[in-house]
Structure formats: C-alpha cells, structure tokens
Amino acid sequence: MTDAVEHQEEGPRSGYQVKTHLFEGPLDLLLYLVSKQKLDITEMSLAKVAEEYWAYLKMLQTLDLDVESSYLVVFACLLELKSRLLLPPEPEPPDEMDFDLGDTAEFDLVERLKEYKKYKEASLVLQEREREAMQVFPRPIDEEEAIEPPTLDVSLPDLLEALRGVLESYQKRSKKKEGLTMERVAVSVPQRMREIVSFLRPDKTFQFTELFEGEATRDQIIVTFLAILELTRLARIRIWQEVTSGPIFVERAEDVSSRELLLEELMLLEEGGASPGKKRRRGTGPPRKPPRSEDVESLPLPSLEMDKPREEEPV
C-alpha cells in the first residue's frame, strides 16, 4: 500500500480531522466506503460500494501480492453478495434456511466488518485515553529502567525452563539413591495449593526452587508445579523475575480486590479458621498433611486432572 487516497475524514468527530488517509487493509477501506454512505453495514448500497472499492483497487496498483490478494478476496466477497442480492428471493424459503448474509464460511463479510468496526472504534477510545494519560507527567524514569523494570512477569518459556531444572536436579538425586524403594505420597493439587499459600509469608520472597525442596517423587514435583500455576492464575501468588532468564521468585499476592478477599475468606473457611500465615521455618519445605478426601471435594477450585489423591503403591 504505497499510495494514499486524499479525502476528508467526515463523521461525528469534527474536532479531529485527518486530511490524508491511508487505508489499513481491505476491511478498513470497505468500512470507510460504507460509512461514507452514512448507512448501517447491513444496509449498504452494494453496487456503489463495489464500484468505489474497485476504483480504489485500480488506483493502488501495488505489486505486493499479499496486499493485492487480500483486497481482491474482499472484492470477490462483495461481488458475490451483490450477485446474490440481484437474484429474486426464494418465494418460500424453508424455515431452517434463514436468509442470512453470513451463512457460508468464506462469506461472513458483514460479520467481519462489524467486528472490525468494533475494534477500530475501541482503538479510537483507547487513543483518547492515551492522550489524556500523556497530559500528566510522573517523575522521569531512567530510560534503562523503563526497558527492564525491576520486576518482570515471568514468561512461560522461563517457567518451563525452571521446571526442567527442578526435574533434572531431582533425577540426579534419585540416581544417587539407586535401588531405594520409594513410596508415592498422595498429595492433591488443591491440597498442595493450600500448603504453598500457608508456607509463603506475605513479607518474604522465596525462590521458585525453594518450593520444590524435599519433593521426593517426580509426581510431587509436577503436583507442586501445577499448584503454583493454579495459584498464579487465581492471583493468590505472584511469580516474577528481575531479569529475563534470571531466577524466578514467588511471593504471596496481597491484593485487596474484592475477588481476592472472597478467595481469602473461602480459604479461611476451608481451613476451619486456621491462620493461613503461621510462622514456619524457611527452607524445610512446607509440611504435608495426610490427605483427607472431604478436603479435596469441598474445595471450590477448578479440578485438575491430578487432583485426586493417589493410592499408595510401591514404585
């Protein structure tokens, strides 16, 4: 798209005039043509729109196949829509076959246009918010600091890498103890979630790996990992790192959003009023409680595949 079409942007936003206008793709062009007729999308005069659309297409004359083909696809859809509307409607359309503009998969142009329009409008509102936000000035931030904030949200690849590290160190450990018979300790994900929450102190930050200390089996490592993911999703804990690929830290999220408070209360109810933040020594790993089936079932959390306590069985 190298050529620009000059026209006056018309519409309700009179204080915001754009003189040159480069269309952002076929939907944008189509939307403009439709809005120029001041008609609803579903009422547009197809012949006129198609004509102007074709005129613009001829003017474009780019050799960029990607761009041209995307315009042509939409033009083809327009032609189909037009030809269909030229046919007389079926005298008695069958009940289940409603005369619907978007009844074929490749021909949902009207739907697409409506959806696009929604986000286009949203982007204008967002732009307005940005303009407002740019009217206020915080104390200046160091450029370097701005690019690498002290706390980064942990990216999924980093998280998986950390899990791999834990599993590898477990494998090394288990090789040393060759010939040892181990028993599976049944810990469910919801149970582990509660243990983690009570293990974490609000005023302290733990390393990701600390949560896995004392894990005796591979299953338990996975259960702990799933519990961490679930807690993060529920915003009960926060995981972050200082630099990309750096160590991952875990801390209790103490937000006061209503959702958070509700969860906190639910949690307290579940634990029978027991204090969730009892002081525990660091580094020994959270203590385990024997699994009780009613605990698992009464917990109002989405169930994961591994949330049933396993039968004890020798490996």
Binding site: E24, S45, E51, V67, E121, E130, A133, F137, P149, S155
Partner: protein
C-alpha cells in the same frame, strides 16, 4: 509500626510516610509493596491513600491509581505549561494501524497474530515488533495449535502508559450491532431493493 484497625482514621504521620514513598519512587507503588514497607493492612493503606488523594485534589501534583498501584503525577490542569517542558521527550503516539492492533490485543488477550490478522484483514508482521519494542505487549505463552503460535497480551507498562488502573479499566467495547432475525430480514429486503434499483442504473463497474 503497629497495625491499625480500619475504624480509626490514619494519623497525619502515616499519610506523610505514604506521601514520601510515592514522592521518591518513579513507578506506581502497588499495595503489596506498601504493605511490605509499612507493615500496615491493605485496607488501612487504601483508606490512607484515599485521604491523601483528596488532599492533593487541588494541587499541581496529583496521586493517581494506575497499573494496580499509586503514583504521583502532575495534574492535568497544569498540562498546558508543563507539557512545554517535556516537549523534547519522545512520547510519540502510535500509528493508527499499531493502535488498532494494540486494541485487539488488549481486549482479546491471549490472542495469536493470526487471529489479529483475521480480524483486521491485513498483515501485522511489521506492527507486532514495534509493540514489543515499546514494551506494550508480551508473550503469554504458546497456543495449542499448529506451529505453536505465540499468544500475545499486554504489559504493565501498557496500563501505565494509557493511564489504566487494570485491565478491567479498559474502555468498554462498543456494543454489538444486535439485529434480531426479523430486523435483519427487513434490512436485507431494503438493501435488496436498493441494489436492484442501482444495478438497473449502473450495472457496469470496473472496465
């Protein structure tokens, strides 16, 4: 510092402490970090912050809630003058294409590049790296789809830059143009008439 009950109003010294923290930090302070610093309860901190915000209402500096935290900023009322001082700073606005793409990511996250392209009907290869560079978007993970495409979402910096408290604070999407079936049929019938009429006059478009 002892914990206060939420019934008694925070004393001046406590407001002074929060004020000092906000003044000396450049980025929004979330309630967690204020809790860690002061040892007070979240509700107490909120209450104190609201008092502080009220006190600042008429000043050249205000306290705003942004990106899940509190931050001191200059008041919008003084913007015309203060702006001049910051004119040099590159606070470039986004292009229209980038803005649309960012809006789609913000509202639809997690979203893949292909989904954005389907929505906009145009490629966004050149826009995504720009948004990454401006630290507005980040990878949320990979989709369970062929090629494991990247799932995109917005960053904390996005919230700060757009002055949003959190993602729920995004302006509401314009409502769907809801058309009942009956309504749609009427509209289609009208469009049909119009098309017929026009087609009679000018059947040839294109050469």
């Amino acid at each position: 510092m002892t914990t206060q009950s939420t019934t008694e109003a925070p004393p001046r010294e406590h407001l002074a402490i929060l004020e000092a923290i906000l003044f000396s930090s450049t980025r929004p302070q979330p309630v967690d970090s204020l809790k860690t610093l002061t040892g007070w309860q979240s509700r107490y901190i909120e209450q104190a912050m609201n008092m502080l915000m009220d006190e600042y209402a008429e000043r050249g500096i205000q306290i705003r809630m942004v990106a899940n935290g509190w931050q001191m900023v200059t008041s919008p009322a003084v913007a015309p003058v203060v702006e001049k001082m910051h004119a040099q700073a590159s606070r470039s606005a986004l292009s229209r294409a980038a803005m649309e793409t960012l809006a789609i990511i913000a509202y639809r996250q997690p979203v893949t590049r292909a989904q954005i392209e389907a929505l906009r009907g145009v490629k966004v290869d050149h826009i995504i790296p720009q948004l990454f560079e401006k630290n507005f978007i980040r990878e949320l993970g990979r989709a369970q789809a062929p090629g494991r495409p990247m799932l995109l979402g917005t960053t904390r910096h996005f919230l700060t830059h757009f002055g949003l408290k959190n993602l729920d604070d995004l302006p509401e999407l314009p409502p769907d143009e809801t058309l009942s079936d009956v309504n749609l049929q009427h509209r289609v019938a009208d469009a049909l008439d119009a098309a017929e009429h026009q087609a009679a006059e000018q059947l040839s478009f294109g050469d």
